[in-house]
Amino acid sequence: MSLSLSPLSLSELSNEELALSSQWSTLSARFPEGLDEFNTYLKSTTYVVGSKFTAADVTVFDNTWKHLQSVSDVASLRHVLRWADLVQNLTGQEKIKIDLDAAVPREIK
């Protein structure tokens, strides 16, 4: 059973959240350039604008999923893959297969 959740619209966001939404929408259009920075950003946040699932997650996911279909080094993009799996589950649109049993070494902080 898949859980489908409607994202918050941009009109419900603060200026800081709108700036993050704009930033990652812009940068995701240039992926794979900037994909590593997105992974680093997601290390400490759940969604694109922080703790809220918003329309920005859907926009950025639409720009990102094709770059995640054949990732050989899962560890290097672990946070993006975690976020992408969450977004595709929330929207009910499975675009990428995530191997939940993949052996991933502990992250060195």
């Binding site: 941009l10 200026n15 800081e16 709108l18 700036a19 993050l20 939404s21 704009s22 930033q23 990652w24 929408s25 812009t26 940068l27 259009a29 240039r30 920075e37």
Partner: protein
């Protein structure tokens, strides 16, 4: 000062565009802020807010965020912003200027406090400043450039543009 701004590093067209956006945004919306040079290279961001640790690394978002205090349209994804993102900005890597790509954007008049005009002009400037080609927004571009000479000079002082290496 809780909000800090830092110039982008590098001497290429992308860095010039980023730094021009910062200079124009500060002049338009936040004259009390100073932009610092990240001398030791330890700041991987353009904007940082100490108290909340809020950071931005993308210059269009910085322009929009600074504009948001006075402009309700700050975050509008207009034709001009889309044109900059999808067709002008990619040309900064190769220094290729596709004049035809500008046909979808238009402005009624020059407005140096408009976020969409700041964003488009700043990415267009390194590509079109020496271009003799005609393009849809040339009149607006030249008027905008005349109005923001101080910011262009300030940007040139911190970002020396290097000619891209020729490829065989």
């Amino acid at each position: 000062m809780p909000l800090e701004l830092f110039y982008a590093k590098g001497n290429n067209a992308k860095a010039f565009s980023s730094n021009l956006k910062l200079n124009l945004a500060v002049a338009a919306y936040a004259a009390q802020l100073k932009i610092s040079v990240d001398a030791d290279g330890s700041k991987p961001f353009l904007l940082h807010e100490n108290k909340t640790n809020f950071t931005l690394i993308e210059p269009n978002a910085v322009v929009q965020y600074l504009a948001a205090s006075t402009r309700p349209d700050a975050f509008s994804d207009t034709e001009a912003v889309k044109t900059e993102r999808l067709t002008v900005y990619p040309g900064l890597s190769s220094s290729k200027f596709d004049a035809g790509a500008l046909s979808s954007a238009s402005f009624a008049s020059v407005d140096v406090t408009s976020p969409e005009q700041i964003i488009l002009f700043s990415s267009l400037y390194p590509l079109a400043k020496n271009s003799s080609a005609e393009f849809a927004l040339k009149n607006w571009f030249e008027q905008f450039a005349s109005a923001v000479q101080t910011a262009i000079e300030a940007t040139s002082a911190v970002t020396k543009l290097e000619r891209p290496k020729a490829t065989n």
